[in-house]
Amino acid sequence: MRGWPFIKLLPHKTNFHFVKYAFPAGILSVVLCVASIVACFYPGLEMGIDFKGGAVMEMTAPAGKSIDAGKVREAMNNLDLGEVQVQNIDGDQRAIVRFQVPDNEDQTAVVTRVQKGITDAVGQVAFSGTSVVGSKVSGELFTSGLLALGAAIVLMFAYIWFRFEPQFGFGAVAGLVHDVILTFGLIVLFRLEFSLNMVAAILTVIGYSMNDTVVVFDRLRENLRKYKTMPLREVIDLSINETLSRTIITGVTAVMVLAALAVFGGEALFGFSIALMAGIIIGTYSSIYVGAPIILLWGVKRGGSIDEDAKPIKFGMASRP
């Protein structure tokens, strides 16, 4: 049967001139990165209680009964706990309450007070899940979350430097920083809650994006040895083209699987999967358009001398702050 297995349908040799579009792509990336950074402060990340401190309480009414969100809100407002959010989920049988725990009050006492206030207002409900994070702990979690992201980027840089060359390291890190910033931007855009799980998602994006970059770089290194006289720009194009079918298959698999997680994983995994999916798409794009072209900016050592071919192509925008 012709065309089966379907992998044969992929053109066996693509000849896209990726580097030719690196300049406009670079500008696009810089613009999107700046927009993402701005978005992180205005309107700003929607911090979950992991990083902001406060409480989330989930309650379920007995079978056949419903929870009146209005009554719960009223009861909560009477407790004088500052800003309170009440929201029905899964129809009216369940509800989620978010509130702040005053710094000078005991967590246990506040939780007990809230539970009593709510049961007084709407009758007996089961408190199926409660999370309370004190301001001290949330501050520490936030710091360690940021540290983790920083440490990941630094370690990846060191790893690529060690396994390849410094120029490759810069390319990889530029790609990583780009992915992390854009993922943050999308988290803001989709109004996803920034929580501990989100940090895990971004770390995974970092791992995946590196994975992708390494595959391209590996081929690049091999081709640089193989075609000693081919201009650097063409070697880069060749390497990206040669790895393109793998990039597409793996990327599509990962995105489809994450889509399944987002649809079937329930509320807890939704934001997490969406962020991962966005990050993986961005990571795939950046291995082609950020990681490899950046190497052109510096050039690479081939047989002892820096490749002169690097000179005429200037898209320095990407490296300017």
Binding site: Q107, V111, S131, V132, L147, V199, N211, I249, G265
Partner: protein, 532 residues
């Protein structure tokens, strides 16, 4: 490399058998697991609190509060000692770790020094006192805890707190509660399954500091104190009802530390009460105090609230006594448990709590199962559609071995599986087939370059291997960082990723090598089915 070698076949078969053996308990019910012969592994997956339901409490030992309390006792000791020696006190100035005493009459300075030196030595082994006296100018001297003692207080307080919490939890009979130290002054208590953490919190949240102190009966004392003029050696406390005020002396006659045993008894009216017995030191002090104060009331104080304030009828020298108050059978036995478990050296403050109801956990498991099944299904379908039944099928078999090995490794190491961990697992599957994709694409490249089937398959494995290792190491680095910085669910995610990296590299490369080697031997193909 592609040649079928005996050790590779053996390794794949062995790992499959070991994997099955270790993963097997997961399909059994707990009862069936118990019935397995002793030499077989019994552990199933260790589900995190978000899947199983349970409570997580992060408690902070309030060390400053404990130090402050110890200093208060020290100040009162100084006051009483000097009063007993009839040495007039000019002033007592409290400091962070002790007190600066100004002696009223210069002539008495040496006498005061001797008295405080004796006080520093009481109850301490020779030359090892935790308190020290220093001379200062102008009739002043400092009586304070040594720096070493202050530093040790924090460390011992956390150790003791863990000890006390463990004793208290054990006495409730609840099993499987883990108590671990975190950082310098924190304790993590994790209780799986317990959907109502309030009982747990009642048990560990109470300091259970029991003290016996005299009631200040000076005339108008209480009225003055209510008006804001509290005498320096007294404090204003509330009764258990939270309304009735009492003025009591700050000095502690006897404290809960001197209790040897408490039990539930009943008073003359048949209401629940608490019987207790003091140790030798406690009995002597209590005996002396009661003998000196017949006819006066004393207060029994639990965590700053007065349980009762009976009047001393006569000297109590036997070392036993009874606390009566507003007890129910339940509250009395809870208090008895607390007293027998010992008082917490310092209050514990809950800094973080996560409670997941068992029902919510079951929902999460269901969501995890469905999304894993759908995700795996998509990968299987996609691989077979892309690479056909042979090559695609081989990666699917590798994937199955991978799944078995992950479950086996996680059961063996008892790594916690969390909901994000399940997501990590599904993603690991996607990245695992990436290794196959890299190998297959490489083979296609080589076949296109005109090599023979064997040569291109060989080159495919050889050349892709470096890339696969590099690519997987980066995931490993990311996972290690999650370990170092992450908490709870994130660590679970990191565990799954780490285990997945190893098992997926093994199964996607090894299984493909063995099966493709076998295919080469049997089918003797002229053409690579995945190449044009």
């Amino acid at each position: 490399m592609i040649q079928l070698s005996r050790w590779k076949v053996t390794l794949v078969v062995l790992s499959l058998l070991v994997g099955l053996l270790l993963a097997y308990p997961n399909v059994l019910t707990p009862a069936q697991r118990e019935a397995l012969p002793g030499w077989l592994p019994k552990n199933g997956l260790n589900l995190g609190l978000d899947l199983q339901g349970g409570s997580y409490l992060l408690l902070e030992v309030d060390v400053p509060a404990m130090r402050a309390k110890r200093v208060t006792n020290l100040v009162e000791d100084v006051r009483t000692t000097l009063a007993e020696q009839k040495i007039p006190i000019g002033s007592l100035q409290r400091e962070a770790g002790g007190v600066v005493v100004t002696i009223g009459e210069g002539a008495q300075y040496d006498a005061a020094l001797t008295a405080l030196r004796t006080l520093a030595q009481t109850g301490a082994p020779q030359g090892q006192s935790d308190r020290a006296v220093t001379r200062l100018s102008d009739n002043r001297m400092r009586f304070a805890f040594t720096d070493a003692a202050l530093a040790a207080m924090g460390a011992t307080a956390v150790d003791q707190s863990i000890e006390v919490v463990r004793r208290r939890i054990d006495s409730t009979g609840t099993k499987e509660i883990s108590i671990t130290r975190q950082g310098a002054d924190r304790i993590v208590v994790q209780a799986p399954g317990e959907s109502d953490p309030s009982a747990l919190e009642r048990v560990i949240g109470q300091t259970a500091q029991l003290t016996f102190q005299m009631v200040d009966t000076s005339s108008n004392g209480l009225q003055d104190a209510m008006a804001g003029r509290v005498p320096p050696d007294s404090e204003l406390l509330m009764g258990e009802d939270g309304v009735t005020p009492y003025l009591v002396k700050k000095r502690v006659l006897v404290s809960g530390e001197n209790l040897t045993r408490a039990g539930v008894g009943s008073d003359q009216n048949g209401r629940p009460a608490i019987d207790f017995r003091f140790d030798g030191q406690g009995a002597r002090r209590f005996g002396e105090a009661t003998a000196q104060n017949i006819g006066k009331p004393f207060a029994i104080i639990l965590d700053g609230k007065i349980i009762s304030a009976p009047t001393i009828q006569g000297a109590i020298t036997g070392g036993t006594g009874q606390i009566t108050g507003n007890f129910t059978i339940q509250s009395a036995s809870e208090l008895v448990n607390l007293l027998n478990g010992g008082a917490l050296p310092a209050p514990l403050k809950v800094e973080e709590r996560r409670v997941v109801g068992a029902e919510l956990g079951a929902d999460a498991i269901k969501a995890g199962q469905v999304s894993t099944a759908v995700g795996a299904g998509i990968i299987v379908l996609f691989m077979i559609l892309s690479y056909g039944f042979l090559f695609g099928g081989i990666s699917v078999i590798g994937l199955m071995l991978n799944g078995i090995l992950i479950v086996a490794a996680m059961s063996l190491f008892q790594a916690t599986l969390t909901l994000p961990g399940i997501a990590g697992l599904v993603l690991t599957f996607a990245v695992a087939v990436d290794a196959n994709v890299l190998i297959y694409e490489r083979m296609r490249d080589e076949a296109r370059a005109g090599r023979s089937v064997i040569a291109s398959m060989d080159a495919g494995f050889n050349k892709a291997m470096g890339t696969i290792i590099d690519a997987n190491l980066t995931t490993l680095v990311a996972a290690l960082i999650m370990f170092a910085f992450g908490a709870g669910p994130v660590r679970g995610f990191a565990w799954t990723l780490t285990i997945g990296v190893f098992t997926s590299m093994f199964s996607s490369v090894m299984v493909a090598q063995v099966l493709l080697g076998y295919w080469l031997k049997v089918a003797k193909p002229k053409k690579l089915p995945i190449a044009e």
